[in-house]
Symmetry: C2
Subunit: 300 residues, 2 copies
């Protein structure tokens, strides 16, 4: 299962009552954060998300509303006696950003390792039992969306295992994907089953890699900077999306559910425009501070 907590739903600047958009994902005891704008550490605390097992921070792009919370966040993690390293994944320029973060917060007591993504390239980063795929999107600066995927092996076939004469004490090893006693998992497992897929994408225009990576996702958390359909020209100019465009993306990618986020500070009542999006993709709802869900394997 994959625990999901959207810490905020704002874009551009944090507002009283609306934290900037960032996402915490937890899977098998490991925690990952995507984006860290100003106030993210407060939003996380408010939402009850611990930083204890946070070992990976992904940045969509290097605009300050997605990065300026890093000095405070890393310092607070250090104040909790952390010594384990954190991996910081982001677009080209992330190393330089980290140097600036360390100038503001020079007292970091644990290592931060940086992985700079290749421009315009879809890249998968394995995280043990799950994986993250960064894909290029279309903003005013190099920007990536992120897909989190929890794969699921095929069903174990005890009839086949018995027919092959595999001793029962080896079964659980094969079930968990290990080769053992001269046998391979492929001999006793069916085709991989549907896993869990979540896609998070801000700031971007509708983009091919987004359509492709979001295909069939359990949950798409997508920017909707503007609620008003007549702000399409503005959305194009600033490389953002309207609610309707986000809904069309969800529809085209056959996702199961869409959360809208990254609202413009000018969009004080996003709920007024939700119906316009839901008319296109019914299972649309609004992101909010600390909104949570848990995604489970759905196939038997």
């Amino acid at each position: 299962m994959l625990d999901v907590c959207l810490l905020g739903c704002g874009g551009t600047m944090p507002l009283p009552g609306r934290w900037l958009t960032s996402l915490v994902l937890r899977c098998n005891g490991h925690s990952l954060l995507i984006d860290a704008g100003e106030g993210t550490q407060i939003a996380a605390r408010e939402a009850g998300c611990s930083f204890k097992n946070l070992d990976t921070i992904c940045l969509t792009h290097l605009h300050a509303d997605h990065t300026a919370g890093l000095p405070g966040l890393l310092l607070t993690m250090g104040n909790m006696d952390r010594t384990d390293p954190v991996t910081l994944i982001g677009p080209p320029g992330t190393k330089r950003l980290l140097e600036a973060v360390k100038t503001i917060a020079p007292e970091l007591v644990f290592p931060v390792w940086v992985t700079e993504l290749e421009p315009n390239t879809t890249q998968t980063i394995p995280l043990g039992d799950w994986e993250i795929t960064a894909f290029p999107v279309n903003h005013t600066v190099p920007c990536f969306g992120y897909q989190a995927q929890v794969p699921r092996a095929g069903r174990f076939d005890p009839v086949r295992a018995a027919a092959l004469g595999i001793p029962k004490q080896l079964w659980r090893h094969l079930q968990s994907g290990e080769c053992v006693g001269g046998f391979t998992p492929q001999q006793v497992l069916g085709a991989p089953r549907r896993g869990i897929k979540l896609v998070y994408s801000t700031d971007t225009r509708p983009a091919k890699a987004l359509y492709r990576c979001a295909e069939g996702a359990d949950l798409l958390i997508c920017e909707g900077m503007y609620g008003e359909a007549d702000k399409l020209a503005k959305a194009k100019e600033t490389c953002h999306m309207t609610f309707q465009e986000a809904a069309k993306t969800a529809l085209r990618s056959n996702v199961r559910e869409l959360w809208l986020t990254h609202f413009s500070p000018s969009l004080s009542r996003p709920g007024e425009y939700l119906s316009q999006a839901a008319a296109i993709f019914p299972n649309t709802s609004l992101g909010s501070n600390g909104r949570r869900t848990t995604l489970h394997f759905t196939e038997e």
Copy 2:
């Protein structure tokens, strides 16, 4: 008069419901901010403090809980179509800090001028009708307290002016401090009257320059990192103060009023320790998010 708004009362890290300590002062249409930790722009918005006339930002020291809000704050000021420059005043290292801030927020559309203070030196910076004095305090890194002073000229003596044969149409010029028609203000004004004095000091141990600059202040806003008297050893170790030490400072400096601020995150109920401070200096109270007052000239 001097408008005072304490934006928050926390130290070390921002918490839900407790913004980091920073102060907005306004005098004659000009606005000044002291310290800008993470979330300061949200705290200011929540308190209804506009950034429109903010032309000076002072930093006590370069710990991130006093500086990490700068990228977001400056960006938001830029988003409001600001083109006027801002002066950033702080300890040695402030220029380097600003470079880091600009790496995180490269889109600044107005100039930021830096004044680095001389180490271990008391320095006065005139701001038109009022002035700021930075004075060195005692922390783990170079740190300054700030005194804001609104001077007040002596009373105009019409009897003397008439006796000197000064034409009445020149009186208001002399009253406002101008030399005119061969006459000087000194000829018709009494001794300078009591003005307004406010002192803000975090993070520090009790310090001689603090005693001296706070002498007779209308309001001392002073750190009290620890409420518990038995945290004195910890306060000494981390170069902070207990509530009792802040109260002793207020008493020794003959201030009129003391606000405690910069509470440790571990100090979840500062009110429990207020009486210990008030036993030493009765006119002590607690800082809080958006706490305001207006200081007026008190002498007739």
